[in-house]
């Protein structure tokens, strides 16, 4: 073997080892989700799947009312991702294609989102929801999330690379700014839109603290909180097999989104990293 081959072999070996190491906790969780309650408590721990998977999934599904929670999580993640994309596209368009008074200040203001995450304003935001009568509603679960720094930055970065000739040509053809935006700029941004969709869907799917406090009843909860309920309802010996079945349910949708859109996601990130 040449030195180069050796090196490449080593790289592959190292990478495979890393892949296995990284995936092991999830593998173990998957195995546990296929065991019966007794098997989950046996020593030595089982390393190969058993036959109780669907049974456990059913159990988790019924016990934490996952059907409804699943719908809620998918719904709010889709809505928030979609609205964030639209609002960021609009704002980025304004910041890149127009000169207007206060643009710099207003841009800085939109960047503030990142510095004001929920915990630094949690009580007043909660009280605001109560004043609006939004507690335990989809409004509370979605509207406060609609602003996105990441989105504005991502699209701004991309819009700046779009050659001026395109907009000039559109203008010569008599197209107004909005038509140019919808018919040319937005379709060009497909990759970035997909990338942002992945980011925002996963972000929203993972929300925990806010849904925990603004929802009161079982029909408004989300999957992450369902997981907590599944654990908390057992005081003595946690039913790991059922809990892990719930975990599998909670893991699938964001993973599907990531895998399905992985190419656009990687390209979108790469584009943003270009300076």
């Amino acid at each position: 073997m040449t030195r180069k081959h050796q090196l490449s072999f080593m790289t592959h070996a190292a990478l495979i080892l890393l892949v296995v190491l990284l995936a092991f906790p999830v593998y173990y969780a998957l195995v546990t989700s296929t065991l019966s309650f007794r098997e989950a408590y046996q020593y030595p721990p089982k390393m190969l799947p058993g036959g109780e998977f669907w049974h456990n999934i059913q159990d988790a599904w019924i016990r934490a009312r996952f059907g409804r929670l699943f719908f809620n999580s998918v719904f709010i993640s889709l809505v928030v991702a979609a609205v964030k994309i639209v609002l960021s596209l609009l704002a980025a368009f304004a910041y890149t294609h127009f000169r207007f008074r206060g643009a710099g200040f207003l841009f800085a203001l939109s960047m503030i989102t990142q510095m004001l995450p929920l915990p630094v304003r949690i009580l007043p935001t909660y009280e605001l929801m109560a004043d609006f009568g939004w507690i335990n509603s989809y409004y509370a679960l979605t509207v406060p999330f609609f602003a996105s720094t990441t989105g504005i930055l991502l699209f701004r970065q991309f819009f700046l690379t779009v050659p001026r000739e395109l907009s000039d040509a559109a203008r010569v053809d008599g197209a107004g700014p909005l038509r140019y935006f919808w018919q040319i700029l937005v379709p060009l941004s497909r990759t970035n839109i997909a990338a942002l969709f992945v980011i925002e869907f996963i972000f929203m799917w993972s929300q925990y603290l806010w849904p925990l406090i603004v929802t009161n009843t079982a029909d408004m909860r989300v999957v992450q909180i369902g997981l907590k309920m599944l654990i908390a309802s057992e005081q003595i010996a946690p039913e790991w097999n059922v809990i892990m079945a719930g975990t599998v349910i909670a893991m699938v949708p964001p993973l599907v989104v990531l895998v399905a859109l992985r190419k656009s996601f990687a390209q979108g990130i790469a584009m943003q990293s270009e300076k």
């Binding site: 790289t11 990478l15 892949v19 990284l22 999830v26 173990y28 969780a29 546990t32 020593y43 030595p44 721990p45 609009l90 704002a91 304004a94 127009f98 000169r99 207007f100 207003l106 939109s110 503030i112 989102t113 510095m115 004001l116 995450p117 915990p119 630094v120 304003r121 949690i122 009580l123 007043p124 935001t125 509207v143 609609f146 602003a147 001026r164 000039d168 203008r171 996963i202 799917w205 993972s206 603290l209 925990l212 992450q224 997981l227 907590k228 790991w240 892990m244 975990t247 909670a250 893991m251 964001p254 993973l255 990531l258 996601f265 990687a266 990130i269 790469a270 990293s273 270009e274 300076k275």
Partner: protein
């Protein structure tokens, strides 16, 4: 300076940014201002009485050993997540950046942890370390019979396990950005260094790492935000701040004061303190980013 591509539309840009700014104003800026305002008061549980106390909520916090302990725990936790997480993922990204076959497969096989929520990561690691039944306590007992590894009673261990779980979850995210950053470094630069006789380590230190610094500063900031805030679900599921406050991160302490102890003045003051930390970090990141940009030109 932005070029005006569509002159003659004085109102349109304002309309375009209005929805974003409205959301930011109503749900972010106003509530934050109220946090600041509320931090100067103490309020009864049901909110019917409030008394202006000036800075005493802040003074009480800094005098409270529990709060200082929470600060220390948060510092350890974020340092762990940032340092261990970033170095591990940079290493993995460097491996991936070699021209190898099957890159696409490796990429997704290493990046997927990004899609896992902090709460799910918490559940999975709680299973691995479950005191009576978990895999890792079992392995420890094999090596060291008679010793029971119990992170539910051992504070230092709990903090370690929580940090590990949080770092693991964030690896995917970090790898994506590092890899993107690495791929944007022109090959000619590193090749040139090699030709000049620099070994891989020297090339990394003098070319790759400096070229990567915008990505690194960005990730430093994002990981810090993650370690400060997004891990709430992980903590709530795994330890709820225990045992004995050993994993009581600032965000968890804040939640407890706000929503369990109903002590809103104290909670608001904590919000403001956390904001100051984040704002300082954001400034530093911004300064680093602009300085690098000037340098690159």
């Amino acid at each position: 300076m932005i070029e005006e591509r569509f002159p003659g539309h004085p109102i349109l840009p304002y309309l375009l940014i209005l929805p974003s700014l409205a959301v930011i104003f109503v749900f972010l800026i106003v509530p934050f201002a109220q946090s600041v305002w509320g931090s100067f008061y103490v309020t009864s549980f049901f909110g019917d009485t409030r008394v202006f106390v000036g800075l005493s909520n802040y003074l009480d916090l800094f005098k409270s050993p529990d709060y200082l302990h929470s600060v220390a725990v948060t510092l350890f936790f974020s340092a762990f997540v940032v340092l261990v997480g970033l170095s591990a993922s940079l290493g993995i990204a460097l491996l991936l950046n070699q021209k190898i076959s099957g890159l696409g497969i490796y990429q997704i096989a290493l990046v997927w942890t990004y899609s896992i929520s902090p709460a799910v990561a918490g559940v999975i690691w709680a299973l691995l370390f479950a005191p009576a039944t978990g895999l890792i306590p079992w392995l420890v007992k094999l090596v060291n019979p008679g010793y029971t590894l119990n992170w539910m009673t051992n504070g230092a261990l709990a903090l370690f396990v929580v940090s590990l779980a949080a770092t693991w979850k964030m690896l995917g995210y970090n790898i994506v950005f590092f890899l993107a950053g690495l791929q944007n470094i022109p090959d000619e630069l590193t090749d040139a260094a090699r030709v000049d006789g620099a070994g891989p380590w020297l090339a990394f230190r003098h070319i790759t790492f400096p070229m990567l610094s915008p990505t690194t500063t960005f990730l430093l900031f994002m990981n810090m935000l993650y370690a400060f805030f997004q891990v709430f679900g992980l903590i709530d599921i795994m330890t709820q701040g225990g045992p004995g406050n050993a994993t009581n991160l600032l965000v968890y302490n804040l939640y407890r004061d706000a929503f369990i102890h109903l002590d809103s003045g104290r909670a608001n003051a904590q919000s403001v303190i956390i904001f100051i930390v984040i704002a300082v970090a954001a400034m530093l990141q911004l300064r680093a980013a602009t300085r690098k940009a000037a340098y690159a030109r």
